[in-house]
């Protein structure tokens, strides 16, 4: 089996990924929202609604911060996906994408390179919020294995959301359009168990939350913080990531095909 083409492809993906990561850090106005905004939201939520843990039916937690960390990580990983989409749209707007299209590389490498960078931002978000949590008194019940599991899941989740961002960018070709979905991120997230237990939501939010893949991801990120690792929750979390990632991949592939066809 000739592995040379695969090796070459991986080199290209790695180079494009490195470029995307450098871009993110050289453009702090795009990186800041991924970390700063969810951090502020976390501070306001835990500071203002800390007594929510006393509501009957609220899961057994060490503190409200422990419960909220997953929601913040979800927010950050979704914003990382949006940020990656904006960066890709800017590449299209300034014509950099033509440089890639004119090169003898696999078309998928352009998207995969961007997704790899988004995944890395997800990892960074995981480290950031676990760090904040530990500094402000959260307890990771599952210990070091739990921390590692959360970081893996955050990375995968960000990659999956990156696919959605990439699909939007390839379809619209304009950063302003991708940026416009930012408010929608909040709406979708609030219709899940990211910030509040799904069982305690009112209808129809409760029903939507039950079937929302974001709930599976949020619960998976939360489980190692508030209790021991549950393979069932890990499985559901990976299922949620697969649903989002699969949708992102299909939409990205279709958008890329449409863009190449229209070109």
């Amino acid at each position: 089996m000739n592995l040379a083409p695969l090796a070459a492809n991986l080199r290209v993906i790695s180079a494009l990924s490195a470029r995307s990561i450098k871009q993110a850090f050289r453009r702090p106005q795009f990186l800041a929202p991924v970390l700063i905004f969810p951090s502020l939201f976390l501070a306001v939520n835990t500071g203002g609604a800390g007594r929510a843990v006393e509501i009957p039916g609220f899961p057994e937690v060490h503190g409200f911060l422990d419960f909220q960390l997953a929601g913040s990580m979800m927010q950050a990983t979704m914003l990382a996906g949006v940020s990656g989409g904006i960066a890709l749209a800017l590449d299209i707007e300034m014509g950099f994408i033509d440089r890639l299209f004119a090169a003898p590389i696999a078309r998928s490498a352009m998207v995969l390179g961007r997704l790899a960078a988004t995944g890395l931002l997800g990892l960074l978000a995981g480290v950031w919020f676990l760090g904040i949590g530990l500094i402000f008194g959260a307890r990771i019940e599952a210990g070091v294995p739990g921390v590692l599991l959360i970081l893996v899941l955050a990375t995968l989740a960000a990659t999956a959301f990156g696919g959605i961002g990439a699909a939007l960018a390839l379809r619209a070709g304009r950063a302003s359009v991708v940026q416009g979905i930012f408010p929608l991120v909040f709406v979708i997230l609030f219709l899940s168990s990211a910030f509040f237990p799904g069982e305690l939501l009112l209808e129809p939010a409760r029903s939507i939350s039950t079937w929302n893949p974001l709930s599976f991801i949020a619960d998976g990120l939360r489980q190692p913080v508030i209790s021991a690792i549950s393979l069932n929750e890990v499985g559901k979390c990976l299922g949620g990531i697969a649903i989002v990632g699969g949708a992102g991949w299909l939409l990205s592939a279709a958008a890329l095909r449409a863009r190449l066809k229209a070109a």
């Binding site: 300034m94 950099f96 033509d98 070109a263």
Partner: protein, 345 residues
């Protein structure tokens, strides 16, 4: 390296490549591109030989960039076919991409990257191993005069620097065919000359160059052959010399002291056909070319008529464009006339 052609006396590799190879580097047959109801390129046929510099001349909106985008596989033709470096742009785009270098009209440079980073990325995109890519990147940055600015972000570069960097990125994999889409638009004269020199050097090294331009001077000075496109249609094609020879002879424009023009016109009419001129000036077409200038000046001098200035005006590509398309190329009037000769009173 190609061996020299015995007895031909060619000194450049470009000439050697051209003489040894009859294969077209670029070939199109009824190439067409439609966008909904608009036909941007309406079935053009062209052939560019290996080692040639071919200039595609036309005004804004003529179809130049659309043609380049089809030839560089960035745009799919809606009709006809095109081969670049022996590969069909639709059936085998990957092979085309391996053989070509592209510097587009809008320099597609990431302002957040440094020159070095961009060069190295480009090397990676073309499958060049890491160490070799680093070496080539440094060598090309040196070649285009950007080595001092290599570690600065592209966003800090001037327009001329960006163009040079864009050119360098197009060369990292030593392409057989180089596409330059309006490479000097918006540049100052010095930067333009720098780009021209580099294009000539590349061509001397054997690279086929296909460049689009709206500047007559650029096509005239650089190109072996010129293709004139207007409203998506090929209006004319040939060497600059042959195209200009098709449309006429040079003419002489004389400015004379007040009141001398009528008498001068009578004298000058013996040497050629008088052309319409403004007051105080006499224009005459020269059938014999520049050789007739001296006898005219002597005749006017013998008659005691003072010539304030004279210009020998050669037919220009704009004249060719005007005759072939019915209108002048935009901005042609802003370009300085060739071969101006000032005579002191």
């Amino acid at each position: 390296m190609a061996t020299s052609v015995a007895g031909a006396g060619f000194s450049s590799r470009r000439s050697q490549v051209r003489s040894l190879s009859a294969v077209a580097a670029i070939e199109t047959h009824r190439l067409e591109r439609r966008f909904d109801d608009v036909t941007a390129v309406a079935g053009i046929d062209l052939a560019v030989a290996e080692g040639e510099i071919y200039a595609f001349l036309g005004p804004n909106g003529a179809g130049k960039t659309t043609t380049v985008r089809m030839l560089t596989t960035l745009l799919r033709p809606t009709g006809g076919r095109a081969n670049v470096a022996g590969h069909d742009v639709v059936a085998d785009p990957a092979s085309v991409r391996r053989a070509i270098g592209v510097a587009l009209q809008e320099a597609a440079l990431d302002p957040l990257m440094t020159g070095t980073e961009l060069m190295r990325l480009q090397a990676t995109l073309h499958g060049i191993p890491k160490a070799e890519g680093r070496r080539k990147a440094a060598a090309l940055l040196e070649r285009v005069g950007l080595i001092q600015a290599a570690e600065r972000r592209v966003g800090t570069y001037s327009g001329g620097m960006r163009r040079r960097l864009d050119l360098a990125t197009a060369l990292v994999h030593e392409p057989r065919v180089l596409f330059l889409d309006e490479p000097t638009t918006g540049l100052d004269p010095v930067s333009r000359m720098t780009i021209w020199e580099e294009v000539r050097k590349l061509n001397d090294e054997g690279t086929t160059v296909f460049l689009t331009t709206q500047y007559l001077e650029e096509a005239d000075h650089l190109a072996d052959r010129v293709g004139i496109i207007d409203e998506g249609v090929m209006a004319a094609e040939g060497t600059p010399k042959s195209l200009k020879a098709e449309v006429g002879r040079p003419h002489l424009e004389l400015s004379l002291a007040q009141g001398a023009a009528p008498q001068a016109a009578d004298i000058v009419a013996r040497f050629g056909k008088l052309l319409p001129a403004k007051d105080g000036a006499v224009f005459v077409q020269l059938e014999g070319g520049a050789a007739e200038v001296a006898p005219i000046v002597r005749a006017l001098d013998d008659a005691g008529l003072a010539v304030e200035s004279l210009d020998l005006v050669q037919p220009s590509l704009d004249d060719v464009f005007a005759i072939k398309t019915g209108h002048h190329l935009e901005g042609a009037d802003n370009e300085p006339a060739a071969d101006a000769v000032a005579v002191a009173p």
